[in-house]
């Protein structure tokens, strides 16, 4: 994993570094003092809100009923786990994140491999492919909801009609989750493609040439040279994509308004907090998201890295 590797590179650079140079002009603390504020802020700003969330998650706190504020024990957690809506939102978050990241990584990989070839009009195709990345996400969700999915004047049914099909399905109510996933895949594939394309183009050419001369098939070249090289770029894309898609709010809020069984956790927290004013419960749900994503991330990292170890 790129991130974990880079933590250890910190140690490696200690060994590589020349012995420390004796400093004469400034004492050690004075040279570092300017950096202290950032570090102190770093620790306070990152950790305090989460600690506060943790505390609130054990409190009974509805902002409409300030007098009833008090210690609630694990009530909020019990509520979160017994509330079927909240439970399904946990499942939705996982389904949404996993499917969007995987599909857009695969599509992005295919597109990056295609764009790595030289062909006339490649720049034009690349520009077209990047377009979704430059649309404001909320606009992208609106585009999908109204321009593409709309049963009366949407592009999908327009094309179906033009092709001579009579069917005019209402896409969002027939397949709500797929509708949300498709819009997010459209939005995220260009990002994955950019990362993977940069990875492909930083690949040294000589080993590939050598392998070709030795009679390696294009598939073998991909499997044993290109893929291992791309690994860290795939991980980077997966990591960044997961971070942003777990917290995705725009698409769910705009396309389905959390209805039709597509509400994910960010949406549920928003609702609990902003509409039901249940601060305690919203915090408990948040803590569960964090705990869950840590467990899943650790597990996923183990699985992925063990897969790669076998591949080596």
């Amino acid at each position: 994993m790129a991130v974990l590797d880079s933590i250890s590179t910190g140690k490696r650079s200690v060994a590589d570094r020349p012995p420390p140079v004796p400093r004469k002009r400034y004492p050690k603390w004075a040279t570092r003092a300017p950096l202290l504020p950032a570090l102190i802020f770093l620790i306070i700003v990152t950790q305090l809100p989460f600690v506060a969330t943790l505390v609130i998650s054990f409190m009974k706190w509805n902002s409409l009923d300030p007098a009833g504020r008090g210690f609630a024990g694990i009530d909020n957690y019990v509520n979160v786990f017994t509330d079927p809506d909240l439970r399904s939102s946990v499942v939705n978050t996982i389904v949404l994140t996993a499917s969007v990241v995987l599909i857009s990584l695969l599509l992005g990989l295919g597109l990056a491999l295609l764009l790595d070839k030289k062909f006339a009009g490649r720049g034009f195709v690349r520009t077209m492919l990047i377009a979704p990345f430059l649309v404001v996400p909320v606009a992208s969700a609106l585009i999908w909801k109204h321009v593409l999915y709309n049963p009366e004047y949407g592009l999908f049914n327009g094309v179906l009609n033009w092709l001579g099909f009579d069917a005019q399905p209402d896409w969002i109510s027939t397949m709500p989750m797929t509708a949300v996933v498709a819009s997010l895949v459209w939005q995220w594939t260009p990002f994955m493609m950019l990362i993977l394309l940069a990875g492909l183009q930083s690949k040294p050419v000589e080993p590939v040439e050598a392998a070709r001369i030795d009679g390696a098939s294009p598939f073998q070249v991909f499997r044993y040279l290109t893929f291992p090289h791309l690994r860290q770029y795939l991980e980077l894309g997966g990591l960044l994509g997961s971070i942003y898609i777990v917290q995705n709010f725009d698409a769910v809020f705009t396309i389905t308004s959390g209805g039709l069984g597509t509400a994910n956790l960010p949406y549920m927290i928003y609702q609990t907090f902003y509409q039901a004013h249940e601060y305690g419960e919203a915090s408990a749900a948040g803590v569960i998201v964090v705990a869950g994503s840590i467990v899943i991330a650790t597990f996923a990292l183990r699985v992925v890295s063990s897969l790669f170890k076998e591949a080596k």
Binding site: T31, I56, A131, V136, V138, H146, V147, L148, T189
Partner: protein, 297 residues
């Protein structure tokens, strides 16, 4: 900040160095397949955006049909939307949020990234793990205590709760900048120290100039993220219309002032412009920065 972003890279085209391959018997079929596939996929991804544009220039009535091509070209739609909603106000709000947040991010994150990448100190790895942890924390999770704090300061209903944190800390930017700074050899910093630079001078004179592509990419990311942000403005300014940003206004646009679909699409198209301009100018830095390919590129 703007100076860094606005400076056009020498070679925007960003072509890979690859020897031309010999065409064999299957070469022609391969050529056709590549072109057809490239064009088809390109169209697939670009069509919705093109369709947005085409709808934006349609007449009010035609926009509600399934027509693909405008019968008449109503370019004035792009101008009229400014009369139908206080778009200019929203634009100013969006720019205030994005530009101040990006500036704040640069002030707070560059020194922090330097401390994580180039200084040796006890607890550095712990601090870095905290940064990664903060980066993975969905903003909705900590929304409750933060909202409560800002509300007791009387600042909810403004964009300040969204801007101020960037002057203190932005985990994602620190992460990206640190990764980029790691690719700069430690010997440069050591040399600066030998020459009597303080850490701060080493940072400003040596590291910042060398990390320019990384800084540009991080700034671009920060700008795009805040420009695109929907949850933040919705949470803090949802009920105060004159503080809305463009992305927030966009979502409520249809029901709010107008029912015309073409105007909605015109606004959608207009909101893309800053991202397109930034991306065209900073594409090379962006790719370089995000993949940490190092100072030589």
């Amino acid at each position: 900040m703007t100076a860094t972003l606005a400076k056009p890279p020498a070679d925007i085209a960003w072509e890979p160095e690859q020897p031309r391959r010999k065409r064999n018997v299957g070469g022609f079929l391969n050529w056709v397949a590549t072109h057809a596939l490239g064009l088809a996929l390109g169209l697939m991804f670009a069509t919705p955006v093109v369709f947005v544009f085409l709808t934006a220039v349609m007449s009010d009535d035609q926009a509600f049909t399934a027509d693909l091509w405008p019968r008449e070209w109503h370019w004035e739609n792009f101008v009229e939307v400014f009369d139908k909603a206080p778009l200019f106000q929203y634009l100013v709000n969006s720019l205030t949020y994005s530009l101040l947040a990006t500036a704040g991010m640069l002030i707070s994150s560059i020194p922090a990234a330097y401390a994580l990448a180039k200084l040796q100190w006890r607890g550095r790895n712990v601090a870095f793990i905290l940064v990664i942890g903060a980066m993975m924390l969905p903003p909705q999770v900590v929304a409750v205590p933060l909202y409560d704090t800002w509300s007791s300061l009387g600042l909810t209903g403004t964009l300040w709760p969204l801007i101020v944190p960037y002057f203190l800390f932005d985990a994602f930017s620190i992460f990206l900048l640190r990764q980029f700074m790691l690719t700069i050899p430690q010997s440069y910093v050591d040399a600066a120290r030998v020459d009597g630079c303080s850490e701060f001078q080493a940072l400003v004179r040596i590291i910042v100039p060398m990390a320019k592509p990384g800084i540009a990419a991080t700034a671009l990311f920060c700008f795009l993220f805040t420009w695109n942000d929907y949850f933040g403005p919705l949470l803090y300014t949802g009920e105060v219309k004159d503080q809305w940003t463009l992305s927030l206004a966009l979502a409520t646009f249809k029901g709010m002032h107008i029912v015309q679909w073409n105007s909605s699409m015109a606004v959608t198209f207009l909101t893309m412009i800053p991202a397109v301009v930034l991306f065209v100018f900073a594409q090379k830095s962006f790719v370089k920065g995000i993949t940490f390919t190092g100072v030589k590129g």
